[in-house]
């Protein structure tokens, strides 16, 4: 028996298997049922109260309806529960008599459900017919397309460079987010606007237009085009436009994708670089010239093969030749000191030597027309020119001033050293030795002569008496030497002059600087500006300062945990005195030995003589001054002396 069962209710024909009473109706109904059962689309018929009265085979097969669902309302049939508001829709359709459509998803299948009114023979709407069309395949491809479009849109919107699609008539179709923000426009206001209206007409460029037209006509080539324009909120910009054709399968119309690249920053950087390198070149040329002038260094280039010599302006100035006159070895020779001509020749030979090409340096003198002498120091660097020819690039420095100051410095140093040495007992002995050996020598020689004269036959008594007298004289002389040496310590013999103690201090410091640096002493100078002059012995006072500096430096030798600070200060004191103090950060002085420091031969150093301070004190006292020591608040000690200022001290301090 057939499984279909249609309940007859409210004028509904009931299809009750094969055993229907009305044969004709039965036949008609059976025909209809068999027709409906051949339709692939599921069909469900419901009463106005949404109770299912019939479904075809496809509905059983596709939707899984079962015979027991007949007579149930939609809401009781689980598969139809996925159709939202189905009952409501059905009653609307029944009421209005107008079809309705709904999308219906059943697991992974998509259906379009058409809801139509069911009209009985009396043209009365007694229910609805639901026809399900499986659109899964179709639906998938739409989904895919939507998905892809969304992806593309997302990608395009995340692309930093602006992109725009132009239609065949070069009107803007759509752009990415960057495009709209770059030009400060919205999608709506630019849709359909010609590209050339954008950016204040900046893209109205013949090269761009023809290329775009060609591309829209089928060309693929595009030469990027640069356009300058002012962008809202960004100022002047340079953009590079590139384009590529877009074609869509199934669409005959071509479109063009245009990209915009902002190269403003790059262009500016390039421009700046060009500008910079040009300025740098000009500046370095200026630097070189200025450097040559300042350092009194000239340069020349000597092509050995041709003897061609090119001079820098500064070299002309050094040689005191008119700038620009051709330089020949002959002309150079007229300036070179005769004693150094051989040096010049030798250098020439070295330069020309086969397999030459070594760097070398030499020193020589020039005699200028006014007979003054210039000392030059030259350094030559060998190079090969483009043809492989040997040439020398040389720097020639006028070291006259340096020589002079070196000489002056050496002189001052030796003078100072001479005096400073007196403070060291070693040198003192040498000087005592010399002074005493002379008369001792006389004594011994005279005594020898005397003895010989007395031993002679007959004895030369007169001669012996004479030599004995000389012996006595030499003995007195030796004793004078001792007295003189003692005087050296009591400092009675000064050469007094008007002195600026700042200058005196600066000179000593200049001489001690390298020593101090070697001992890593950080020197600080505080020289009073309004320092009155004093009357004194320059060398002696320098010797005092030197002693104090040395002691200070010595005192800091073992200091490793703090800076080796040395402060040398000059200042005006009340009562018209001038004070010089030397403050160190050294080991300091034990208060108990404070008094002993100034004693001769008191020392705590293995190589010390202990006479620096005693000599210094006697010098300062010779200047009517005072020399004393104090412990610092912090580490170290300060040694100071003060001497009266002004010319009145001359009368007081002048030697007898």
């Amino acid at each position: 028996m057939t499984t279909e069962r249609v309940m007859l209710n409210d004028g509904w024909t009931c299809f009750q298997g094969a055993n229907a009473d009305d044969a004709a109706a039965y036949t008609a109904t059976a025909d209809l049922i068999s027709i409906l059962n051949t339709v692939d689309a599921p069909i469900v018929v419901a009463r106005r109260d949404s109770v299912i009265v019939f479904f075809n085979k496809a509905a059983a097969d596709v939707l899984g309806l079962s015979p027991s669902d007949i007579g149930r309302p939609f809401c009781d049939v689980s598969v139809l529960a996925g159709l939202p508001r189905l009952e409501e829709r059905c009653s609307q359709v029944a009421a209005s008599g107008v079809d309705s459509r709904a999308d219906f998803r059943e697991r992974d299948r998509w259906f379009v459900v058409r809801i139509s009114p069911y009209t009985n023979g009396d043209r009365q709407v007694t229910g609805t017919v639901l026809t399900f069309t499986n659109v899964t395949a179709f639906r998938g491809s739409i989904d895919q397309a939507i998905y892809e479009r969304e992806c593309t849109k997302a990608i395009l919107n995340t692309v930093g460079d602006p992109l725009v699609v132009l239609s065949a008539d070069q009107r803007i179709q759509s752009g990415n987010r960057a495009f709209y923000s770059m030009f400060g426009v919205s999608r709506d206001e630019t849709q359909g606007v010609p590209l050339y209206d954008l950016g204040g007409g900046a893209f109205e460029l013949a090269l761009l237009r023809t290329q775009l037209e060609e591309m829209l006509a089928g060309s693929h080539a595009f030469q990027p085009v640069e356009a300058d324009l002012v962008l809202p909120g960004k100022g002047p910009r340079t953009l590079v436009l590139d384009a590529r054709p877009l074609s869509f399968p199934g669409h005959s119309e071509r479109r063009v994708l245009v990209t915009f690249q902002d190269i403003t920053a790059r262009k500016q950087a390039e421009a700046a670089k060009d500008l910079r390198s040009e300025a740098e070149l000009r500046r370095s040329e200026a630097f070189l010239a200025e450097g040559q002038r300042l350092s009194v260094t000239g340069s020349f280039c000597w092509k050995v093969a041709t003897d061609e010599i090119t001079w820098s302006e500064q070299l002309y100035r050094i040689y005191e030749f008119e700038i620009g006159v051709p330089v020949t070895l002959e002309r150079i020779r007229t300036r070179v000191h005769p004693g150094d001509l051989s040096v010049l020749e030798k250098m020439k030979m070295v330069g020309q030597a086969r397999g030459g090409g070594h760097d070398f340096e030499w020193q020589y003198r020039l005699i200028m027309p006014d007979h003054s002498i210039k000392y030059l120091h030259a350094v030559a660097h060998a190079i090969r020119d483009r043809d492989g020819q040997l040439e020398y690039i040389a720097a020639v420095q006028d070291v006259t001033a340096r020589r002079m100051s070196e000489e002056a410095l050496a002189e001052a140093r030796s003078e100072l050293a001479k005096v400073a040495r007196v403070t060291s007992l070693g040198v003192l002995t040498a000087s005592i030795a010399h002074e005493v050996n002379q008369p001792l020598s006389g004594i011994i020689t005279n005594a020898s002569t005397c003895l010989r004269m007395l031993d002679a036959d007959p004895p030369n008594v007169d001669g012996a008496r004479e030599t004995a007298r000389r012996t006595i004289r030499d003995g007195n002389r030796a004793s004078d030497v001792i007295t003189r040496l003692r005087a050296l310590f009591s400092k009675k013999e000064f050469t007094f002059e008007l002195l600026d103690l700042n200058e005196v201090t600066r000179e000593v410091i200049a001489l001690s600087l390298s020593d101090l640096q070697r001992n890593r002493v950080a020197l600080q100078l505080e020289l009073a500006e309004d320092l009155p002059t004093i009357i004194g012995d320059r060398i002696q006072l320098q010797q005092v300062i030197l002693n104090l500096l040395r002691n200070a430096s010595d005192a800091m030798v073992d200091v490793h945990d703090r800076p080796r600070q040395l402060l040398v200060r000059t200042e005006r004191e009340d009562g018209d005195r001038v004070r010089v103090s030397v403050r160190d950060a050294g080991v300091g002085v034990d208060p108990r030995s404070m008094n002993k420091l100034f004693d001769a031969f008191y020392t705590t150093k293995s190589d010390g003589m202990g006479i620096g301070l005693s000599v210094s004190r006697s010098i300062i006292e010779g200047h009517q001054g005072r020399l004393w020591a104090e412990s610092n608040d912090g580490p170290g000690a300060t040694f100071s002396f003060s001497i009266p200022s002004g010319p009145e001290s001359v009368t007081n301090a002048a030697p007898r």
């Binding site: 040498a430 020598s441 006389g442 020689t445 020898s448 001669g463």
Partner: protein, 126 residues
Amino acid sequence: MMGKRSLVSVVDDDESVRESLPDLLREFGFAAEAFSSAEAFLASDVVSDTSCLLLDIAMPGMSGPELQQELIRRQQEIPIVFITAQGDKAVRPRLLAHGAVECLLKPFSETALLAAVNTALRMRSE
């Protein structure tokens, strides 16, 4: 006295040396002349007659070694005995290396002096 006595010249800026040394040299049997400077010696007429030169090192004006060089330049090669009060032994080898016969440190004994002068004279006669 027999024959011509050898002339020993003394060049020293120190007066007591100039006074005492010639007397002792004469006691030894030499002829002696004293000069207060190198320049004075060069200007004298005894340069070529001098058989031995007792020469101070440090003198104002031309120093002893400079006089030595000058004599070599003039091809007047007189044996030289340097005498110095400097008391610096270090100079001695240098002076000997430069051709000095001897270098006596003041004060020196008469024995040392005589030995040095005799050596000089022997060199002169060779």
